[in-house]
Symmetry: C2
Subunit: 435 residues, 2 copies
Amino acid sequence: MPADNALIASSNLSANEAKDSRIQLPLRIAIFGFGTVGSSVARILVDSKPEGLKLTHVFNRNVARKRVDWVPSDVTWSEDAEAVLASDADVIVELAGGLDPAGGWLRRALEAGKSVVTANKKLIAYQGVELERLAAARGGHLKYGAAVAGGIPVIPGLEQGLAGDRIERMEAILNGTCNFILSKMEGGAEYAAVLATAQANGYAEADPTEDVGGFDARAKLAILMRLALRVVVDPEEIIPQSITPVSAVDFSYARDLSCTIRQIARAEERDGTVAATVGPMLVDQRSPLAWSRGTENMVILTGRYGGDVVFSGHGAGGHPTAVAVVSDLLALAHGSRRVEIPSVPARIAAEFEVPHYIRFLVVDRPGIVSEITGALARERINIRAIMQKPGYPQDALPFVITVEPCKSSALKRALANIAKMDCLLESPLDLQMLE
Amino acid sequence: MPADNALIASSNLSANEAKDSRIQLPLRIAIFGFGTVGSSVARILVDSKPEGLKLTHVFNRNVARKRVDWVPSDVTWSEDAEAVLASDADVIVELAGGLDPAGGWLRRALEAGKSVVTANKKLIAYQGVELERLAAARGGHLKYGAAVAGGIPVIPGLEQGLAGDRIERMEAILNGTCNFILSKMEGGAEYAAVLATAQANGYAEADPTEDVGGFDARAKLAILMRLALRVVVDPEEIIPQSITPVSAVDFSYARDLSCTIRQIARAEERDGTVAATVGPMLVDQRSPLAWSRGTENMVILTGRYGGDVVFSGHGAGGHPTAVAVVSDLLALAHGSRRVEIPSVPARIAAEFEVPHYIRFLVVDRPGIVSEITGALARERINIRAIMQKPGYPQDALPFVITVEPCKSSALKRALANIAKMDCLLESPLDLQMLE
């Protein structure tokens, strides 16, 4: 490829910079996990031949069934993790996911002074700080640009271009599966049917709990909170709300409120206290969050000085995630170092004070609205609107109350009392309204 | 500020990293140009106290009138550029703008081995490659994250998170003044009135030619082309089209086409040839480019592997631009190095083949449409639609022809012939339609 050679020949800076940092080029790369992302990483390394990177090992269980003919013949295929960890590979690209055994491999690689590039959001959310310390102590580097919003450079954006700001708030769509489901439901589809489509297309797992329950998004939120709000939190303290109770009637009411519904991960820091939550929320149709459709991800960061910055793109999928991995590898090869953003441990001690949308499903009888509004009044929660659309049966009647900004805890107490009412067919659905 | 001290105390990595790179911290910073951006940079340095950065000098002509009391008393205020260049400042923050005398200061600083952080898009667009070589040769660094789309980390995004992709196309809103004017005109305002408002608000210069003529955007486009498409082009080869001929009637026709009008800077690389242009264009109302309002900037990059990535935010203004400057300073202090993206010189030799919107203003008489369509047919340009709204006078009648994708050069030849027609009150307005 003459064009590519010309490109490489014109760049001498990188080799010098690498020499300065005593990095031997090319970096020898071992991929752990040859699934969709792993094979996309190999594909980019083989096709694009990024300067300074050389694929040397592929590790996978039962590796024989993974072998492909387009990978150069000098690459070692192995199902022996220990052998690859003990090899002369400089960087482990960990794409297996989960805490075990990936965490063990990663730790041993860092202990041996190797660098690690990973897309493992769970491991980074729960053990990132400790693993970064280990990397620094042994002279290696840990990079995880692919762990959050794969193809969108939000982590480099925070570490580089926004490091000079103080991010005070963020709202994000971090789970492509939920965004696919909810944006299809916005178009009129039913939850079960969309989930089945998502599973057939490989956007959702057979057990979709990690995604629809909000656990995946909260791990990513915890990672972004460290870089954006500069706080280290225990992801378990972020209470996720599942999207499964959201139904067609909620999209219909949301539309009447000039809104739609998205799974939002949000966090803010105010006067040293931190609030964070994940769940389905009403977002204004004019908000960028409403534009995000299909499996797209979006991150909106609000800085004290720079105001709002929006990033959007493909958050997952083989190729977009692989771009983030290869970019991290290039950063290592070029001796690029990130701005170390200081962070402090923090508890999630604050609450959002926002308006709420509450949808009830009742067997109709006189006095229901009076009882519900009475329970809200006792917690000093002001009602914004009461909406009841025609066309639903009396014995399974949905209606909606929206309330002015209030503390979630006060609303939870009111709803706990309301939940005791015999007319309720299910727990009220309580969604934050983003403003 | 105890909270900030705690943050700093928890980060020891940065000091170690800086030591590795033989950088003496804190970096001593001299600001050249104490206007809106310069004073915002000083404000962030003084208020946020980012680790490793110390403001030591402020240079400005007639500096006495610039003095402010919130800057620490040990900062040297000077109107002698040579004295500040000869001082012990480590980094020159150049915010004066323009090729001269800023280019001379910057060159002397780099020759002395100092590093430079600049927001000077013109200097970087025209002399960036040469200045980067000078910096590398003398051991300093040149950073210009603030030169394009100030508050949006698109340059760090390209240098870090997207370095592993091959960007093939970009469409961007890079001039906040034009976006302010056109998005206000979309709402019904007249050009002259909006321009006056923009001038009163400080969004537009007394002579707005740089902005509305597309010269500002093309300098920024040239900078992004180097990092995104990896080509070095002469900005003068990018022919800009002014937004001034766009009028209310065009927004009215655009709406009928489910479009709006924005100043777009676009470039693409296909099979080694490069196309680039700047000017008002029709954009689909569903495109992110249509969402961008007011002085916002937006950049959409399309990668071979990662697909579309969208960045948006405040492209200019004191604080957002200052965030980009301080982020660059932090990158220097932390010994952060970017991935050197190789690039090759290129000519702008290709044309976009897109549909066009052509608006005519005529004194009505029989045969006009026949003559115009005949001229288009002779260049083998296919007509998509002919639109003529009622309610305009016969002696100044606007009507619109849209054509299927065609080479700009063929359309230019046809329009040159059409321009000879005696019924035309002004040159036809020819706008690309983005698809």
